[in-house]
């Protein structure tokens, strides 16, 4: 059938259907995706007027990588099942890691408690009540040694979710490897180390935007030379989404952060193809199934274009957008918590159909606490069922060619391009952060979403519809307040059992290096080896860089 003919036929079908709506109205006047994209009644080839297979999709492992970055994808091997975990003391978390590895998990992912994320010690005034609560407490190399005790660092890959203090935590990890006799070229993993989103998403910042990007480039430079298998940054949309953004904003702000980092590294004099293959990404998988799949596919295609066209990358690997996915924490409900297993299952499916490289599935009890062992096992099993029983991993990018999914992918890419243009006009992401742009965009989006939940326009089962009269409580993990006391004791003990003069000298060197603008990784490594505390290291940097304060943009 010719295109014109088809167009006429579609129009005729639409008007006929419209006419019938008087008798049988549809559920809603308008249908929209979770992020506000208009969703049509039906998609046909007429929705893809410029569709060109080679240009839009290409083949897996080939530019523009819409269908996936590897040529065999999950037929080669499944995605890495990587459950983010950490709680209480290093000892407790070490046991949980060993449990997860014994149950078929294939990579580790460290969740640090808030004091570590903010670069302060467990005995800091603001840490009261938070020690070990939302992650594991790491104050010095000593805790890191315990955390990976009995886990050979050349046999596992580890992901560490920490941002502004990332250089210090990376230094601790590398020092543990040294002590295990594992050479750095055999150490693999990822550190999140994505400083810009901290200013508008997770808000675990320490120093100001420009300085934070400088420090990121230090780690990129260091890893490129010394730890070739390490991914020194995971450019993260997850927290942006969880802070209330739309899917389009998540995609756009993440890539705009990535652009800022690439520019900074090039400015340092690094060749784009020397570091770009080590960039990795991290996205959220929210509830709107097709929109999420479109987001992942658009991300791969748009990043490939940016790297090739904007930065002139030559190596195809520089154009790869490889990503980790976590199912949406903010989609979990405290009400009827078992429903969360179902939500997580669908979200995980969207991530797999979107071609993720690794996946974390949330546990059903996480709206209220860190997961129990039972809950985290169900979450891991959810992925294992997806991989082994459903057959969705048997072919590559199975939704390609769906009129709906391709149209959504285009729409998602277009929206992101517009946002990135706006950020470029503001002078790039650092300037946009200074101007409060992403902050106010996210505030607006989260307010709109909240209102649509209030009106019932957005249904959340068990919360604003199908509410249970009576709910049966589930057991929750409790972190003992004793952890805080013991952690503070350990800090005191560490201070007594180290060479404090050496530590002071190391901290002086950190300050001097920060002032000179040289790479800070070596001085930080030195300080870590002498058991300098995380807070001491970060405060030495703050002494030069200054501390960032959130402007509270509404």
């Amino acid at each position: 059938m010719k295109r014109d003919q088809l167009k006429q036929k579609s129009a005729a079908w639409e008007s006929e259907t419209e006419a019938g709506l008087k008798k049988r109205p549809e559920r809603k006047e308008e249908f929209q995706s979770l992020s506000g994209l208009d969703i049509k009644r039906l998609y046909t080839p007429t929705d893809l007027p410029d569709f060109d297979y080679e240009k839009n999709l290409g083949f897996p492992g080939e530019y523009p990588f819409t269908r996936g970055v590897q040529s065999t994808m999950y037929r080669g091997r499944f995605w890495t099942m990587r459950q983010f975990s950490g709680f209480g003391s290093a000892e407790e978390t070490n046991q949980r890691y060993k449990y997860l590895l014994a149950n078929g998990q294939t990579g580790l992912s460290v969740a640090f408690h808030f004091p570590t994320l903010k670069g302060v010690n467990s005995d800091h005034q603001l840490a009261r009540g938070e020690v070990g609560k939302c992650g594991v407490a790491i104050d010095s190399l000593r805790d890191m040694e315990i955390l990976f005790d009995g886990i050979p660092l050349d046999k596992v890959t580890t992901s560490m979710t920490v941002n502004h203090p990332a250089p210090a935590l990376l230094a601790m990890y590398l020092t543990v490897a040294e002590k295990q006799g594992v050479s750095w070229d055999k150490v693999g993993g990822t550190i999140q180390n994505d400083p810009l989103k901290e200013f508008f998403a997770q808000k675990s910042y320490i120093w100001p935007p420009r300085e934070s990007v400088k420090l990121l480039v230090d780690t990129m430079e260091f890893c490129a030379k010394n730890v070739p298998q390490w991914h020194p940054v995971s450019i993260s949309g997850y927290h942006i989404r969880e802070a209330g953004s739309t899917a389009q904003q998540e995609l756009a702000f993440t890539l705009a952060d990535g652009i800022a980092y690439v520019e900074a590294a090039i400015e340092r004099g690094m060749d784009v193809d020397s570091f770009a293959p080590h960039l990795s990404f991290f996205f959220d998988a929210h509830m709107d199934f097709f929109e999420e799949i479109a987001k992942f596919r658009a991300a791969r295609r748009l990043w490939a274009k940016i790297m090739k066209e904007r930065f002139g990358a030559k190596n195809p690997k520089s154009m790869w957008l490889r990503f980790h996915t976590q199912t949406a924490g903010c989609s979990l409900t405290a009400q009827q918590p078992l429903n969360n297993i179902v939500r997580t299952g669908y979200e995980a499916l969207s991530a797999v159909l979107g071609g993720t490289q690794s996946l974390h599935t949330n546990s059903f009890d996480e709206a209220e606490a860190l997961p129990t062992e039972e809950a985290v096992t169900v979450a891991l099993r959810t992925q294992q069922i997806l991989a082994n029983e459903t057959g969705v991993a048997n072919t590559i990018d199975p939704l390609a060619g769906s009129y709906h999914v391709e149209a959504l992918t285009d729409a998602m890419e277009q929206a992101a391009v517009e946002y990135i243009q706006k950020i470029d006009d503001l002078g790039g992401m650092v300037a946009a952060v200074d101007a409060g742009y992403p902050q106010s965009e996210i505030m607006r989006a989260s307010m709109e979403y909240q209102k649509s939940v209030e009106t019932g326009e957005e249904v959340i089962v068990g919360v604003n519809k199908y509410i249970a009269e009576k709910e049966s409580p589930i057991p929750l993990l409790k972190v003992d307040d004793e952890v805080e006391r013991r952690q503070i004791e350990r800090i005191e003990d560490t201070k007594l059992n180290r060479d404090n003069a050496k530590v002071d000298a190391c901290l002086d060197r950190i300050r001097d290096t920060a002032r000179s603008g040289d790479n800070l990784m070596e001085p930080i490594l030195e300080a870590v080896r002498e058991y300098a505390l995380l807070g001491e290291i970060c405060q030495s940097i703050v002494a030069v860089y200054g501390a960032y304060e959130d402007p509270a943009v509404f």
Binding site: F114, R128, G129, Q202, K203, T333, M447, P473, D550
Partner: protein
């Protein structure tokens, strides 16, 4: 008519301010004057701010697991500073089991995730009296 004045605060090191900001914005849209302290507050900072600002209620958002410490400390400090009668409310990730003991200590309302904004508004007005 008297304006409602409410303090909204984020204690500790946790930076998850989506809830605090949505509530602040919603209260503003409902005609409240909202004094926002921003992130990373100690209980002392929260209480002296409430004191200086002469607010009608103090709202605290905690997603860090430190709710037992924070709410207890704030309520105690407010009593010590002579503003024990100002109602304290809060929200975040607070397991249901932890709510009754905190209410016994003097917290006037704790909202679980998913509580409708209108319900929160009505409750805040009720505890202000």
């Amino acid at each position: 008519m008297k304006k409602y004045r409410v303090l909204i605060a984020k204690p500790g090191l946790d930076g998850h301010d989506r809830g605090a900001k949505v509530i602040a914005k919603f209260l503003q849209e409902s005609g409240f004057e909202v004094v926002y302290t921003g992130l990373h507050q100690t209980p002392e900072q929260i209480v002296t701010s409430a004191l200086q600002e002469a607010v009608d209620a103090v709202g605290i958002s905690v997603l860090s697991g430190s709710h037992n410490y924070v709410f207890t400390e704030v309520v105690e400090l407010m009593k010590a500073k002579g503003i024990g009668e100002i109602p304290v409310f809060g929200g975040g990730t607070i397991p249901e089991d932890d709510i009754p003991p905190l209410m016994e200590k003097g917290v006037k309302a704790l909202f679980r995730p998913g509580t409708p904004l209108d319900e929160i508004l009505a409750k805040i007005k009720e505890i202000i009296g």
